[in-house]
């Protein structure tokens, strides 16, 4: 197991290198220049601007700049944000907890909703419960998060005034109040993101359970005299979760992508909104670092999915 993990981590290195190279080249080729603002500022003489460009190596060939970035990165130097004049790693570390908190809770909510609903729907396919669940699932993944997010803000913040619509990382309250405030401000983004994911997960779980429930070993379990609920939980759900794990892992890039939008709507100071503001400011070191962090997270979740596989299905061994 330890060996397997180590090997998987080593295998992840080339893919992360590839991702970073593509990102770097794309960013270098993209229009826009972090020194664009300096260029239009009449107070800065052209010589100074030129000196700065030379100092930061902006005019070197792409490959030279990439290698320079990579070496610095490996040494723990993630660069310097041109826009906010802070080290990129400090910036990301400030922003990442909010993102992980919201995205993580939303995923949890999605699974807590999707697994029971999907299983119950598959238990009696085409029953009234199944029809209702399907209808909601279709509505759920047809409505984009920016729409449902704004709708919730309109209802619960503007009209009812129950929940704050700006997410704050610097809540002043202490003790229980801090938790309460944090909970209140997370309710809407987590609901929006979680239910959106739950809609598609419900469909996955339903079809996976439908596939498993007609297999011979489920009949064997019934022939043992087990209660139907035990048959479902022990002999159906565990087997049905195996394909669902794959799908959830494959959804991760989409989830983080969706989080960017959600963070924008609810003004969550996470890395998604950091990415947006960095793109708007042509702040390449930050863009580079944030996208790279996203790539690492996706690779990490795939690894977690593979470990879960082995745990759920003994036929897969960690060799």
């Amino acid at each position: 197991m330890g060996n397997y993990l180590l090997r998987r981590l080593i295998v992840a290195v080339p893919s992360l290198l590839g991702i970073s190279l593509i990102l770097f080249v794309l960013l270098a080729l993209a229009p826009g220049d972090p020194f664009g603002e300096l260029a239009s500022n009449p107070n800065i003489p052209p010589e100074v601007r030129e000196a700065l460009r030379v100092k930061f190596g902006m005019d070197d060939p792409i490959m030279v700049r990439y290698v320079r970035w990579l070496v610095a990165m490996i040494h723990g130097d993630w660069g310097f944000s041109f826009a906010s004049r802070v080290n990129v790693d400090t910036l990301i570390l400030q922003r990442i907890p909010a993102t992980l908190y919201v995205v993580g809770t939303a995923q949890l909510l999605a699974l807590i909703v999707a697994i029971p609903v999907g299983v119950l729907a598959a238990r009696r396919p085409y029953s009234i419960f199944d029809q209702i669940a399907n209808t909601f699932a279709f509505i759920g993944f047809s409505l984009p998060t920016f729409f449902t997010g704004l709708l919730l803000i309109l209802i619960f913040s503007v009209n009812l005034g129950w929940l704050p619509f700006v997410y704050r990382a610097d809540i002043q309250a202490t003790g229980w109040m801090w938790w309460w405030e944090n909970f209140k401000q997370a309710v809407m983004p987590v609901t929006v993101l979680g239910l959106y994911q739950a809609a598609s997960y419900t469909r996955y779980v339903r079809s996976a359970v439908l596939d498993v429930i007609k297999l011979d070993y489920v009949t064997t379990a019934r022939s043992k005299g087990l209660d139907e609920s035990k048959v479902i939980v022990k002999h159906v759900v565990r087997n049905a979760l195996i394909p669902v794990v794959t799908l959830v892992a494959l959804q991760m890039p989409t989830v983080f992508g969706g989080a960017i939008v959600t963070e924008q709507i609810f003004r969550i100071p996470g890395i998604g909104s950091l990415l947006i503001s960095a793109i708007l400011a042509n702040d390449t070191p930050v863009i580079m670092a944030v996208t790279f962090v996203f790539a690492c997270l996706v690779v990490l979740f795939n690894l977690i999915a593979d470990i879960l596989y082995g745990w759920l299905d003994p036929r897969i061994s960690f060799r």
Binding site: L215, Y217, T219, T220, K224, G225, L226, D227, P314, R315
Partner: protein, 332 residues
């Protein structure tokens, strides 16, 4: 027929229907089967004759919907199982009536060890501790002649071959000392040498544990080897029922005669060069089946009367029943 004195299981006029898009399939339509204590009964018939549905109906393992038991009684030691709720049925399943399925490759859950799966049923019906149930599971594996049982309880189904998995299934079915074992084509998916081993094992277990066996098969060779009494099914009905030697010596239903003639005979093949006989035609569709005898369209003895009414199952000599109005005229 001492079996007639106190039948363990008595199926009376069982009707199991399935609702499909094409209409109602009368998979089992008025079947009477009884089995006595310690008896080995074979139920034979080709695919689609309703033998598996009959077996699954006894344990009420039919998917409902689309299936339903539309009529008849299933008397288990005098008590009708048809109206029982699922919790009452669960007390009977595995502890009194156990079943072994056709496909050993897919009948075990791939994510649990075989020990867990056997221990599960032992704990459920006998209330043993986890440890004791595991020990008992190992004993059961030893009983079905799986080598090194103490270690193998911790193996997963994919570590076992098809024949070994069927032994595991048998161990699981027998672990609560059932009074009746239903074996639904237990050897069909296995290769021939393993088939013989599994049949021997079943008969050996029957000797040791003193249960009854209802063996469902489509192979007449298997019937000849293991059965005491035979029920021949065709298109959801019983065609003929007789002690095994009577059935082979004096088959009276044209369908049974066809089945027996279609057994490859190594002794005859050497003397006369003849083609193996087959029964022309195929099993009728059980959605709106033909009136009268369902075999009439394939029967060389059929007369217009056959197509008018369903022929009753009548006793032509003690213990030998035939559902054919011309049974007296069908001598080979």
């Amino acid at each position: 027929m001492d079996a007639r004195v106190a039948p363990l299981l008595e199926i009376k006029g069982l009707k199991t229907y399935f609702n499909t898009d094409e209409g109602q399939v009368q998979a089992v339509d008025g079947v009477d089967i009884s089995i006595g204590s310690g008896e080995t009964l074979c139920v034979v018939g080709e695919s689609g004759s309703g033998k598996t549905v009959t077996a699954m109906s006894v344990l009420k393992l039919i998917a409902m919907p689309p299936g339903r038991i539309a009529g008849g009684q299933i008397l288990w030691r005098g008590r009708d199982l048809v109206p029982l709720g699922s919790s009452e049925m669960n007390k009977i399943r595995a502890s009194e009536i156990a079943i072994v399925f056709q496909e050993p490759m897919t009948s075990l859950n791939p994510v649990y060890t075989v020990g867990d799966q056997i221990a599960e049923v032992i704990r459920l019906h006998q209330g043993l501790s986890k440890k004791a149930a595991m020990d008992r599971a190992a004993e059961m594996l030893a009983l079905v002649q799986i080598p090194n049982p103490k270690a193998r309880v911790n193996d997963y189904p994919h570590h076992f071959s098809g024949g070994m998995r069927q032994r595991v299934m048998i161990a699981m079915a027998l672990s609560c000392n059932p009074k009746l074992l239903i074996a639904d084509e237990p050897t069909t998916a296995l290769d021939v040498t393993i088939q013989a081993q599994i049949l021997d094992l079943l008969l050996d277990m029957k000797e040791r544990l003193g249960m009854s066996i209802m063996l469902i098969t489509h192979a007449m060779g298997v019937v000849a080897e293991v059965a005491q009494r035979v029920v021949v099914m065709y298109a959801g009905r019983v065609a003929e029922e007789a002690p095994v030697d009577r059935l082979f010596a004096n088959p009276r239903h044209p369908y049974t005669q066809g089945l027996i003639r279609s057994i490859p005979r190594i002794d005859l093949a050497a003397v006369k060069k003849s083609r193996l006989e087959s029964i022309p035609g195929s099993v009728p569709k059980l959605v709106n089946p033909p009136e009268g005898c369902r075999f009439a369209s394939r029967c060389r003895f059929a007369i217009p009367d056959c197509r008018i009414a369903q022929p009753p199952l009548r006793e032509i000599e003690p213990g030998h029943k035939v559902a054919c109005i011309r049974a007296e005229e069908t001598l080979l």
